[in-house]
């Protein structure tokens, strides 16, 4: 990947789902701490006790910059941290396809930067989990997501319409561009 070789970590279990979804606001389990939320799917799929995955969970929390909040309940941290913890929990399962449900909604600028940086930056050697090959993002606003190496599609009235890459998106009808990219109408 980008001229470097990265070894993929072993999938956490035989039955682990390889297509994992991250919801808006995270949907973490309210009675578990952030660390326990991350440990739960690992323990379930590996049939082990939480202390057996403690080191891995710590490294995941560090990768997603959540270590100081490890012992907090989801209700005690802000929405951005909850959503990032949900991303860490999803990544713990080494997904092949990651579905993100409008991850930038309700985030401040710094958090938006963090997400876009995580999605666009090359993997670091210290990462416990590298990003999956396929990430599908559902969003109402395409503007933050415009990049050359991405494909776009439109889900409208229950129908799936492939728009193509950024250039093809730019060549789409003006009305569609106005809707997706909030482009101002052409001057008369």
């Amino acid at each position: 990947m980008r001229g470097r070789t990265h070894s993929r970590p072993k999938p956490p279990g035989r039955a682990a789902s390889r297509r994992v979804r991250v919801w808006r606001r995270g949907r973490l389990f309210g009675h578990l701490t952030l660390a326990q939320n991350l440990a739960l799917p690992l323990c379930y799929h590996r049939n082990c006790r939480p202390d057996a995955v403690e080191v891995e969970v710590d490294r995941l929390l560090a990768q997603f910059e959540l270590q100081p909040l490890a012992l907090r309940l989801p209700g005690q941290v802000n929405g951005a941290c909850r959503q990032r913890a949900a991303l860490a929990r999803a990544m713990a399962l080494v997904p092949e396809v990651l579905f993100l449900d409008d991850p930038l909604a309700e985030l401040n600028t710094a958090q938006v930067h963090w997400w876009l940086n995580w999605l666009g930056a090359p993997p670091r050697p210290t990462d416990v989990r590298s990003r999956p090959a396929t990430i599908v993002v559902a969003t109402d606003d395409l503007r933050p997501w415009l990049a050359d190496d991405r494909q776009y599609a439109l889900l409208h009235d229950g129908r799936w319409q492939v728009l193509g890459n950024r250039d093809q998106l730019a060549a789409s009808p003006a009305s569609l561009r106005r809707e997706l990219l909030a482009e101002p109408p052409a001057p008369r």
Binding site: G13, A15, A16, S17, V20, R21, W23, R27, L28, F29, G30, H31, L40, P41, C43, Y44, H45, N47, C48, R49, P50, A86, R89, A90, L93
Partner: protein
């Protein structure tokens, strides 16, 4: 505007109908209620079978995680309720055993003390009181927890992570509550009988402890032990399954959690009463 408010759902309406129409609507309501109850029982049975199937086939695949959860549930539903069980046992001993022993002694039929105690405390009140206690202290929080988790999408998130919600949320609660009701019933019955004699002693009833417990031993048969155990286990299962079913069975909104909590309590009570009636028939047959 006023018409719009009155037409809103949940607003009380008074319809000026003739008497015959009220009868028809009452019958329609009763019929609808019966059909809904039958459908709920059918779905509850299906839910019970699913839980049994998941416990039998998938427990081993996640035993290291589920095992401690079961023990935690036994502690929550059983150990934590021991103090209040002791208080209820003492109250039952004073209110029922103590007074009954004193009354039977006054009218000179002391020989019936054992039979009366076994029938009242061992067969009926002990298991029912324990079931009520567990329903109120553990069953109600269970519905609220599961209903809230369902309403907030946590259950959906579990499924998305490849985790079976029945194995993680239902199986530990069902096993924990069943074991807890069984154990607490035994403690409650023993506590009530011992406390009852204590209160009878305080009322100067001329009955030695040896006579009291000999009469109890004579009145107890192996069927009493067997059916008491079965009854306690059945009550525990009914409460656990009804509360978990109401919390998880359908998509909920947060505002509906209070409503389903009430439904779960009523369903559990009805289930226990029906089971109790069946056990009375069994006692009579054996």
């Amino acid at each position: 505007m006023a018409k719009g408010i009155a037409a809103a759902p949940g607003w009380p309406r008074v319809d000026p109908r003739p008497a015959g129409a009220w009868m028809r609507s009452s019958l329609r309501w009763a019929g609808g209620w019966l059909l809904a109850a039958a459908d709920t029982v059918r779905r509850l049975l299906a839910f019970s079978l699913i839980t049994l199937g998941v416990a039998a086939t998938r427990y081993r695949s996640a035993s290291a995680l589920i095992g401690p959860l079961i023990l935690q549930q036994v502690a929550t539903a059983g150990l934590r309720l021991l103090p209040i069980t002791a208080v209820i046992a003492a109250a039952m001993g004073w209110a029922i055993v103590g007074q009954t022993v004193a009354l039977l002694t006054q009218v000179g039929v002391q020989d019936l003390i054992g039979v009366a105690m076994v029938t009242a405390v061992v067969r009926e009140l002990g298991p029912l009181a324990t079931a009520l206690l567990v329903l109120l202290r553990v069953g109600v929080p269970t519905v609220v927890q599961l209903g809230t988790a369902r309403a907030l999408g946590e259950v959906e998130a579990l499924e998305a992570l490849g985790i079976d919600p029945v194995l993680l949320l239902v199986v530990p609660r069902v096993l924990g509550m069943t074991v807890a009701v069984f154990a607490l019933t035994a403690y409650l019955v023993v506590g009530a009988l011992v406390a009852g004699y204590g209160f009878a002693f305080l009322q100067d009833v001329p009955l030695t402890p040896g006579d009291y417990f000999r009469q109890l031993a004579l009145a107890l048969t192996w069927q009493d032990f067997l059916l008491l155990g079965l009854k306690a286990v059945s009550f525990g299962l009914v409460i656990a399954l009804a509360t978990c079913f109401q919390g998880l069975s359908r998509a909920l909104e947060l505002r509906e959690v209070a409503q389903i909590t009430g439904v779960a309590v009523v369903a559990s009570l009805l289930g226990c009463v029906v089971l109790d009636a069946l056990f009375i028939v069994l006692y009579l047959l054996l």
